[in-house]
């Protein structure tokens, strides 16, 4: 599986070398209609931000649409000297989390 970045995600580099991602929020239609009716939403896409730590930034920088999850986990193992299975679990969990938020897709 190869993770692919969502092009709508805005990337901001933070002073410590880490990364902040701003991603469009998926809103349930019923909630959008309700928020619109009570004047809480003007219809523009809502965004949410998430700040990645050092390891998250490491993985994000390797999501280029070419490297597979296994390749990224292997790079993670080498960079942080953790066990291969530990890296696979950590990278997979991270990719699943950002995937659920629509920050990346998998192909």
């Amino acid at each position: 599986m190869v993770p692919v970045r969502n092009e709508a995600v805005e990337i901001t580099e933070l002073p410590g070398g880490q990364i902040e991602l701003a991603y469009p929020l998926a809103i349930k239609p019923w909630f959008g209609r309700l928020a619109d009716k009570v004047g809480l939403w003007d219809g523009r896409p809502m965004t949410k931000t998430v700040e990645l730590d050092e390891m998250g930034t490491f993985v994000w920088c390797r999501i280029d649409g070419e490297r597979s999850v296994r390749d990224i986990a292997r790079a993670f193992t080498e960079a942080y000297q953790v066990q291969p299975r530990e890296a696979e679990l950590a990278v997979t969990a991270f990719i699943k989390t950002i995937g659920q938020r629509g920050i990346i897709g998998l192909r």
Partner: protein
């Protein structure tokens, strides 16, 4: 003699140990059970217990038959078991483990197993292998031959996921977790010293012994020091009242975690000691902490910490 490929991984857990084939990994870990699997599925199941008195192989195989209604389980006679397996059983018998082999068949799968008992230590063990093809039989026999009973020693080794240590035999395995970045194995010794199953492990007066491994140390310790990090993150962190000795890449502490006049009078003062360090090899923080009303002597604690090491694992 059955042959096994090199680069096998050692596992020792709560009194028993075996050497697994490359690619075999624990998929389920229990206090008294291990399930090993490879990329294709389950390969080996191991369950054990300590029994007192006599042990009936036939009774246990009958129990297996009743417990697995979808499977046909039967004791194997000498003609049915592969030569390599028979040699492994003989080898185990030399170390005091008596065994009776059995065969099972269910839903197109078949397996080969053995019920084992060590009359000296009381260990009763059930091991079974999932046989997918003929080549699996000598492999299973090779792994069977590596089965070890560690329950009779003064210390019990454990080796799991690249960590290894030895604990005094009077400690019982309590809880454990293996999360990415944080591995923890906790042991418990009741103050009474009794090993009966009546008192739940970890309850009542006694001593808790925690082994922890955190990774990657280079990230965790960025912008902080080992002492500050340990006080914040260890499961049984050194209390603020206990001074910590700082050495290069290592901290030690020893003192009273909970004390008062009443506690001292009732002999319920909780003593704690611990050590955390960053080993030369491996980007990890290792920590051992002992806490409870029965203190661990400095020499014993030192031996325990000395035994807690990282073991190289096969790389994929």
């Amino acid at each position: 003699m059955p042959t096994c490929p090199v680069n096998m991984a050692d596992y020792a857990w709560n009194g028993i140990g075996l050497t697994a084939l490359p690619g075999w990994e624990p998929s389920v870990i229990e206090r008294d059970g291990l399930f090993l699997a490879d990329s294709l599925g389950p390969v080996c199941e191991l369950k054990w217990n300590r029994v007192s008195g006599t042990f009936s192989f036939d009774k246990h195989i009958r129990k297996l038959t009743k417990g697995n209604k979808g499977a046909v389980v039967r004791a194997a006679n000498a003609a049915e078991i592969p030569d390599a397996w028979a040699q492994s059983v003989d080898r185990l018998a030399e170390s005091g483990l008596r065994a009776k082999s059995f065969l099972w068949q269910a839903d197109g799968n078949r397996g080969l197993g053995a019920a084992l008992h060590h009359p000296g230590t009381g260990l009763a063990c059930l091991i079974q292998f999932f046989i997918r093809n003929e080549e699996d039989e000598p492999m299973a026999a090779g792994v069977l031959a590596t089965l070890r009973d560690f329950t009779g020693g003064k210390t019990v080794p454990w080796t799991m996921f690249g960590m290894a240590a030895r604990v005094p035999a009077d400690f019982l395995l309590d809880t454990f977790s293996f999360q990415p970045g944080h591995y923890r194995v906790a042991w418990w010794r009741p103050a009474s010293g009794k090993r009966s199953g009546r008192v739940p492990t970890g309850k009542g007066p006694g001593t808790r012994l925690d082994f922890e491994r955190f990774a990657p140390a280079s990230v965790l310790l960025k912008g902080t020091n080992l002492e500050a990090w340990c006080r914040d993150r260890l499961t049984h962190a050194p209390p603020k009242s206990v001074p910590v000795d700082n050495g290069p890449g290592r901290i030690d502490w020893r003192g009273a975690a909970k004390t008062s006049l009443l506690r001292r009078t009732l002999r319920r003062e909780v003593r704690t000691c611990g050590r955390a360090w960053t080993p030369d090899s491996g980007n990890v923080v290792l920590a051992v902490a002992a806490e409870g009303v029965v203190p661990l002597g400095p020499s014993t604690f030192n031996d325990i910490c000395g035994s807690f090491t990282l073991v190289p694992e096969e790389t994929v």
